[in-house]
């Protein structure tokens, strides 16, 4: 059994990628860096879908279709998030998440 023909290899790899992305979301303060980490987590989910599609699913087209949908949603999310970051920067002259606390009472 070759290592790239086993489901578990891909699952653990996606898990590591997801954990790295989660660490980035929790620890970074730069809003663009948070967005980058979220993209990593979305990719981990994509790898999981594709791995299940390759090894378990009854029809191999379904997982690929779902991976394509994840990409489209990620593109929409990135466009919205980047425009919000631009608006925040114009307003506060900073993209640090800890300085965007105007709503705090």
């Amino acid at each position: 059994m070759l290592i790239f023909n086993q489901l578990e290899t891909y699952l653990y790899l996606a898990l590591v990628l997801f954990a790295i992305g989660l660490y980035g979301v929790l620890s970074r303060r730069n809003l663009i860096a948070v967005l980058i980490s979220v993209e990593l987590m979305l990719n981990a989910a994509s790898i999981n879908f594709m791995a299940f599609n390759r090894f378990l699913a009854p029809h191999p087209a379904v997982g690929q279709v779902i991976a394509l949908f994840i990409m489209a949603v990620a593109a929409a999310e990135a466009a919205i998030a980047l425009s919000i970051i631009m608006a925040v920067y114009r307003k506060l002259k900073s993209i640090n998440a800890e300085q965007a606390v105007e709503l705090r009472g």
Partner: protein
């Protein structure tokens, strides 16, 4: 099991480890580097690695789309946002050690829990599996079974585009 290094399988295994290393290294740069531009480049490296993984998962079409959409579009859009926002030479605030430790503990806990879950689960393949991997079938599925999601996604992209324009332009005298 030992595989000869110069057989086709050995070369494929070596290339697989290369792709895995690219993915993990890119992700570490994307999260760990201090310079935001290095983060973006690390993300691009990691996404190219993920595209290689998709090749190993028998899906060249999705691998090409990954490079086209993620590396070609999203990364470049993030580059524009980096250039239009804070100057790169301005040093950021120092990282708080306590917060990094907390984030490490949180991410580590999720990692340990999911790894345990993955190890304990008995994965069962579907009883009857089709061997139809062609791109034609994907296109067929997109326009028959999943046509509603397909249309909703196109609507979502349109709304996101309009929302991004409205949010980012100079409005309301700002």
């Amino acid at each position: 099991m030992s595989v000869s290094l110069f057989s086709a399988q050995g070369v494929a295994t070596g290339a697989f480890f290369l792709v895995v290393g690219l993915t993990i290294l890119g992700a570490l740069i994307a999260v760990g580097a201090r310079n935001i531009f290095h983060n973006v480049l690390g993300l691009a490296l990691s996404l190219i690695g993920v595209a290689g993984l998709f090749l190993y998962l028998n899906s060249p079409f999705v691998a090409l789309m990954e490079i086209l959409i993620y590396v070609g579009a999203i990364t470049i859009a993030i580059c524009f946002a980096v250039m239009l926002s804070e100057p790169l030479y301005r040093p950021g605030p120092p990282r708080s050690f306590l917060k990094s430790l907390g984030a490490l503990l949180g991410a580590g806990a999720v990692l340990a829990f999911l790894a345990l879950l993955t190890r304990k689960t008995q994965w069962v393949a579907a009883a009857e599996r089709s061997q139809d991997w062609s791109i034609t079938t994907i296109g067929h599925y997109l326009l028959t079974n999943y046509v509603l999601i397909f249309e909703v996604i196109s609507l979502l992209l349109l709304v996101a585009m309009l929302g991004a324009i409205v949010t980012a332009r100079n409005g309301r005298g700002s």
